[in-house]
């Protein structure tokens, strides 16, 4: 267990968020003429050039930024083979005409410097047609954290051009699966959102499922299942400390943190009936929220913590309900054809994502918290278990082909950008972290 922890410990990344380029362009920051509209489903991705940064690992950093922007579906990084300005230098203004000629609308360039064992990355974002600098920032960190620096830069570029927070400096916990179907080995695992740095958190000697992140990004909760019983664990990624939520009569499953990280909602099964409980982590007192004789599970808090979406078959088939966080006023919100499960409230509060079964297919979809505007984003033999990127623009989920092993996929909230995650292994039950600090 602890052997993998050293790799996981996130050292603080020192951010020197100064306007470090006062020496260069005296022109006041004017409004960008380019912008990327994240809400348009028919969007043409913005052509962007990300030439290799100067200095050690400069090419790697540019590559990570370029891949992040491309996967968002909002940007189209141009092929570096076509670049005309080959000697681009962070200290001087780019030759805008060279970049206009290859139709780049935005340009990101940078320089890596290693000083006293620290990695410093200076970068700028340019509006090519307005011939204007949009961003000039510097990040410092320890050299082994160069990928995080690249993710921070990606987030800064994304935010500057879309007006929304990025989601690249994040991680994903998931269940890594191996072995034949009837004897699947399931290990808790974690990786960067781009599939890099995967490592295992459990050894596969027992089944684990449904990990979820706390808002503090360092704590997860998950369920373990052994023939002798189930348990819900809290696991601190930084310290490696693992503790059980306690022992309950019956099975416990489906844990999920409240937005402030102070409570965990989960299901307790007694005598075959599953109900939703919530436990305060400070007092360890738990409160029962539902007492219906139906299946009540998969609780998910609204971002303000006031409400809980959950799954119940009290109407005769699994549907999505919303109740107060104290269990008051449960109300059904899904009324379409089919079976609805795994509701997950978006971090912005705008949508509830879900899994839907209809017509022999599984879908990932979204609806408003009042049940309106239902949209199905995917369709396949088996899609399930959506998790939101912290900005609420992208969902990750697991997809299984008939007889195959599950893989992690992502889809943006418009349904336009659907793709497998750049992680080559088999995985299920992804949970996206909040933005790292």
């Amino acid at each position: 267990m602890t052997r993998t922890l050293r790799n996981l410990t996130m050292r603080p990344l020192i951010l020197a968020l100064a306007c470090v380029f006062a020496f260069c362009l005296a022109a006041p920051a004017a409004r960008a003429e380019i912008e990327v509209n994240v809400n348009r489903g028919d969007l043409q991705p913005l052509p962007i050039a990300v030439p290799a940064f100067g200095g050690q690992q400069g090419a790697d950093i540019a590559q990570v930024i370029s891949a992040n922007l491309q996967r968002s579906g909002l940007f189209r990084p141009l092929d570096p083979a076509g670049y005309l300005e080959r000697d681009i230098n962070i200290a001087v203004q780019p030759r805008f005409n060279d970049w206009k000629q290859i139709s780049a609308q935005a340009l990101v360039n940078g320089q890596v410097t290693v000083e006293g064992g620290r990695l410093r990355v200076d970068f700028r974002l340019w509006d090519v047609y307005a011939e204007q600098q949009l961003l000039g920032l510097q990040f410092t960190s320890s050299p082994e954290n160069w990928r995080r620096v690249a993710h921070k830069i990606s987030d800064a570029v994304y935010e500057r051009l879309t007006g929304e927070k990025g989601y690249f400096d994040t991680r994903v916990v998931f269940v890594a699966e191996s072995g034949p179907r009837a004897k699947r080995i399931k290990r808790l695992a974690i990786m960067d959102q781009d599939g890099a740095n995967p490592s295992y958190l459990t050894d596969g000697s027992y089944i684990v499922m449904t990990p979820r992140f706390s808002s503090n990004t360092q704590e997860i909760t998950y369920m373990s299942l052994r023939p002798e019983g189930s348990a819900i664990y809290l696991f601190n990624l930084e310290t490696g400390r693992r503790e059980s939520l306690g022992s309950f009569q019956g099975m416990v499953f489906a844990p999920r943190f409240s937005p402030d990280g102070g409570r965990v909602a989960f299901s307790v099964e007694r005598g075959g009936n599953s109900d939703i409980f919530v436990m305060s982590l400070a007092s360890r007192a738990s409160t029962r929220l539902t007492s219906d004789p139906s299946i009540d599970t998969s609780p998910s808090f609204s971002p303000d913590g006031a409400r809980i979406a959950f799954n119940s078959d009290r109407s005769g088939s699994p549907q999505i309900y919303v109740m107060g966080a104290d269990g008051s006023n449960p109300r059904r919100i899904s009324f379409g054809q089919g079976r609805y499960t795994t509701p997950v409230w978006s971090p912005t509060g705008e949508f509830i994502a879900f899994t839907k079964q209809t017509g022999g297919q599984f879908h990932i979809g979204v609806m408003r918290p009042d049940g309106s505007d239902e949209r199905l984003l995917t369709s396949s033999y088996l899609d399930e278990g959506p998790t939101w990127a912290p900005n609420g623009r992208v969902l990750m989920f697991s997809r299984e082909t008939p007889g195959g092993a599950p893989r992690l996929w992502s889809v943006d909230v418009t349904g336009r950008v659907l793709q497998p995650m750049p992680y080559p292994g088999s995985g299920s039950d992804p949970a996206w972290s909040p933005l790292l600090n």
């Binding site: 009837a182 449904t210 023939p227 499953f253 075959g272 009936n273 998969s298 795994t342 399930e384 039950d429």
Partner: protein, 185 residues
Amino acid sequence: MSGNVNRSTAYRLALIAVAAASVAACSSRPKPQFDTAPSTTPPPAAQPGDMPPPVSSGPLAATPGSAQDFIVNVGDRVYFDLDSHDVRSDARPLLDAQANWLRQYGSVRVRIEGNADERGTREYNLALGARRANAVRDYLVGRGVTSDRISTISFGKEQPIDPGTSEDAYQRNRNARTAIVSGAR
């Protein structure tokens, strides 16, 4: 489909091997008596996924009261309809036999493991499997097995017995297994 054929052949072969091994193991002991005979009838063929009937010509030589006796001569698994936890009428004879056997061997403790097919989501299927396990538990208690001898667990869709993706495979994976935990001979 050919996968199913191969699998059931493998199943049969494994069963023969178990039977042969047990015959060898018991050869120096007195011939076991099948005093639980009425309940050892293999479950009706309509039960999908049931173990194929024994193919050896002689009686099976499982030690009465052993886990193997329970599995081979009683049957440890019953099946459920889609999204249902009602004990089916075709499962009752087998559960009656389980109850008889458990009443006869009163020191045996069992765990009922509920299972669901893969055509559902993970958490819902855990809850569904728990319902199935408890339906079997309630049935056995109703037939006189004391409840403190029975524990339940749900594996949801995590432990399919048939890795296939046909309706038959899904049906086989909607089941509850009665696993002997302790007290068997």
